[in-house]
């Protein structure tokens, strides 16, 4: 009985994903530590400590909680971006365009907020529309014109970046590069706090966006695992031709998938920029990293909607910790570590294969031992005893 339980536990796919993710993180952190050692051996231990502790490195509980709030504000969009990538990946597409859909969403919601002072829910809807449109372009190009979604996504990333930079220029004060900051209380384009700010030491950036994100993750999980649409999406991802043969509309499924993926990235942007945490820098020359970090979080989270909540939190945690490294080390150390982790995620499939090989070998050994035991017992005690062991094995 005990034996059976243990085998069941390790052959669970969730446990294997978790184990693989932990191995990736561990190796990633170790390599990061080695890089720290090479750059500046004296402070390596301290640097690692600062990065891993992030908000816990602050000395007062009050500020700790406040900085935890900051991390959470940035984690919410990261979760949504990784959901976007995960969702497309289930349909067999690599949504590297999530970064561009995020930018499009950001541009749309900020434009409505500045130009029309639209209420926050309108801004979010506009962001969703813009993100979906961006996703739909990639999807339609893929479905009807056979354009690889990775290439079209990358092109759209750059197009959206320059477009939004241009669009946001009029909303900067004078010659400044950043758009004007929203003031809470004066602008109703900001997502309401509903008292959540009180929980995080009056951190006004903490809004209902955070609980909403968790709800969206659960909805995506249910959509993928419990509905017909989710099944069709996964079937299309496994084998496009088989799905088509089974009567599924693989073309419209591709487009709808990309629309949803784009919408998720759009929501991500609106949740981030309408929290009042940050403004748009119109001089930026590279696409915001949020969409790309989403790739890391999606794969680290074992491509599971609930898993990505935790992986996003981890990645945001170390990258926030990385920014407090300035002075000792370049802040990009945390980017480096998350990049290493993404790279290692490529080996997850291989790790899982090895794990199942090991557990299969264990299983074979266990069975052989049991059989030998049973054989020995039949020799000693015939009749009822042997039947008992056989019965036990069958269970």
């Amino acid at each position: 009985m005990d034996n059976n339980n243990r085998r069941g536990f390790f052959s669970l796919p969730g446990v294997r994903s978790l184990l693989a993710a932990l191995i990736c993180i561990l190796i990633g952190l170790m390599l990061g530590y080695i890089v720290l050692l090479i750059i500046n051996p004296e402070n390596a231990g301290k640097g690692m400590d600062v990065m891993l502790k992030n908000f816990l490195a602050r000395n007062k509980t009050f500020t700790q909680i406040k900085h935890l709030g900051n991390t959470l504000v940035k984690t919410a969009p990261l979760i949504l971006c990784s959901l976007s990538i995960l969702f497309a990946y289930k349909a067999g597409m690599f949504n590297i365009g999530a970064a561009g859909q995020y930018v499009a969403g950001a541009g749309a919601c900020l434009f409505f907020a500045y130009k029309f002072s639209a209420p926050w829910y309108v801004c979010i809807l506009v962001a969703i529309a813009a993100g979906s449109l961006w996703g739909a372009i990639s999807g339609a190009l893929k479905a009807y014109l056979n354009v690889n979604e990775v290439i079209s996504g990358i092109m759209l990333n750059w197009i959206s970046l320059y477009l939004v930079n241009m669009l946001m220029k009029p909303f900067c004060k004078g010659a400044e590069k950043d758009t004007i900051a929203f003031v809470r209380g004066q602008s109703h384009s900001l997502i309401p706090n509903l008292g959540l700010d009180k929980l995080f030491s009056n951190n006004t950036s903490v809004t209902i966006a955070i609980p909403l994100t968790i709800i969206i993750a659960v909805v995506i999980w249910i959509l993928l695992s419990k509905t017909k649409f989710g099944y069709e999406i996964k079937a299309t991802g496994f084998n496009k031709n088989a799905a088509k043969y089974a009567g599924m509309h693989e073309k419209s499924n591709i487009i709808i998938t990309m629309v949803i993926a784009g919408a998720l990235a759009g929501i991500a942007a609106s949740f981030f920029f309408l929290s009042g945490f940050s403004t748009w820098n119109t001089n930026q020359t590279s696409v915001p990293a949020m969409g790309f970090n989403g790739i890391a979080a999606a794969f680290l989270g074992g491509l599971h909607p609930i898993g990505v909540i935790f992986s996003s939190l981890f990645i945001q945690h170390i990258s926030d910790g990385g920014t407090s490294l300035t002075g000792m080390y370049p802040a990009q150390i945390s980017d480096l570590i998350s990049a290493i982790i993404i790279y290692l995620c490529g080996f997850v499939l291989f790790m899982k294969l090895q794990m199942s090989k090991i557990s299969a070998a264990n299983e074979r050994r266990r069975r052989a031992r049991l059989e030998a035991l049973a054989a020995a017992e039949t020799e000693n005690k015939p009749d009822d005893a042997s039947e008992e062991t056989k019965g036990g094995e069958a269970k």
Partner: protein, 313 residues
């Protein structure tokens, strides 16, 4: 006008070299999305040589030293893609994306750490200045024509000959079309694919050096290579994975990119008062449109992106 032609050639050359790199890799069956990261890492090696080599050496030696450094760094870095996608059958797009992010982060960290160590903390930027050696590689004073353009022509001709006229090239391409068939006649698919990835690493590295060289006498690694690796992929697709067509499409893309860089110098275009971001977007928009019209009959290598599995023979 002269300026536009010069910049068109500068960009076309670097796009050609990188796209040829992508071509070798994809012809062997490995999708190389990581070209952008490979360019950054190769460029890093080349620029460091340009920045620290004594400027008194003959220009040709400086040129070869920098190119060799860029090639070596690019090849070493592309091994990461090779190991992941050939030995461990990893998702090639994922590995490539990781390479892009890793390349940018690693190069920034290395240069920043170097600058901090060199100036005892005074300079923590990701910039490297190479103003002493830059003019030496120029072919004619005051113009943008440089030695890399000659190298590009050599590499282009070599690519055509290697791919279509040598045993190695034909074997390489067979691994991208039908690796099982290639393996059945005794070709080592893994070895061929490693060759493809390593050549693309070398060419990507040279391309990265060419890009950073074209930016002026200061390289800022925080912005990387500004999406040229991805643009090169588009050039490669538009060129239908054929060296001669890649050169032609590189000229087209190079022209639009040059327009973004120097377009405002023309009276006619300046009079239209088109905002600069539009010019910046132009190469990517053109690329999307072009891809939309050409991808239907794509001549992509049939087995690209699929890890080779002996048991499926």
């Amino acid at each position: 006008m002269m300026l536009l032609i010069q910049y068109t050639l500068v960009y076309a050359c670097l796009l050609t070299v990188v796209a040829l790199g992508g071509c070798y890799s994809e012809r062997s069956g490995i999708i190389n999305i990581g070209l952008e990261g490979i360019m950054v890492m190769g460029g890093l090696g080349g620029i460091l040589v340009l920045a620290f080599i004594p400027a008194t050496l003959p220009p040709i030696i400086i040129f070869f030293a920098a190119t060799l450094a860029a090639m070596t760094c690019g090849m070493a870095y592309s091994m990461l893609l090779g190991v992941a996608s050939i030995n461990f059958k990893a998702d090639q797009t994922l590995a490539g994306t990781a390479l892009n992010m890793l390349g940018l982060a690693l190069a920034t960290v290395i240069i920043k750490a170097l600058n901090i160590a060199r100036t005892a903390g005074a300079d923590n930027s990701a910039r490297i200045i190479f103003k002493d050696t830059r003019p030496l590689l120029s072919l004619a004073k005051g113009t943008e024509f440089n030695m890399f353009m000659i190298l590009t022509v050599v590499l282009l001709v070599a690519a055509y000959i290697v791919l279509y006229k040598t045993r190695f090239g034909l074997r390489l391409m067979s691994c991208g079309e039908h690796p099982q068939a290639a393996a059945s006649v005794g070709i080592s698919v893994a070895k061929m694919r490693y060759c493809g990835v390593l050549i693309s690493g070398a060419l990507g590295g040279i391309g990265g050096l060419m890009y950073l060289y074209s930016c002026g006498s200061e390289a800022n690694f925080e912005t990387g290579v500004a999406g040229f690796g991805f643009l090169a992929l588009a050039v490669m697709i538009f060129g239908q994975w054929k060296p001669h067509r890649i050169a032609i499409s590189a000229l087209l893309f190079g022209f639009f990119r040059a327009l973004a860089a120097v377009g405002q110098a023309f009276d006619l275009l300046a009079a239209l008062e088109i905002p600069k971001p539009i010019y910046n977007m132009l190469p990517y928009i053109i690329c999307l449109i072009v891809l939309a019209f050409t991808s239907k009959n794509s001549k992509a290598p049939k087995a690209e992106g699929i890890p080779y599995d002996k048991s499926t023979r």
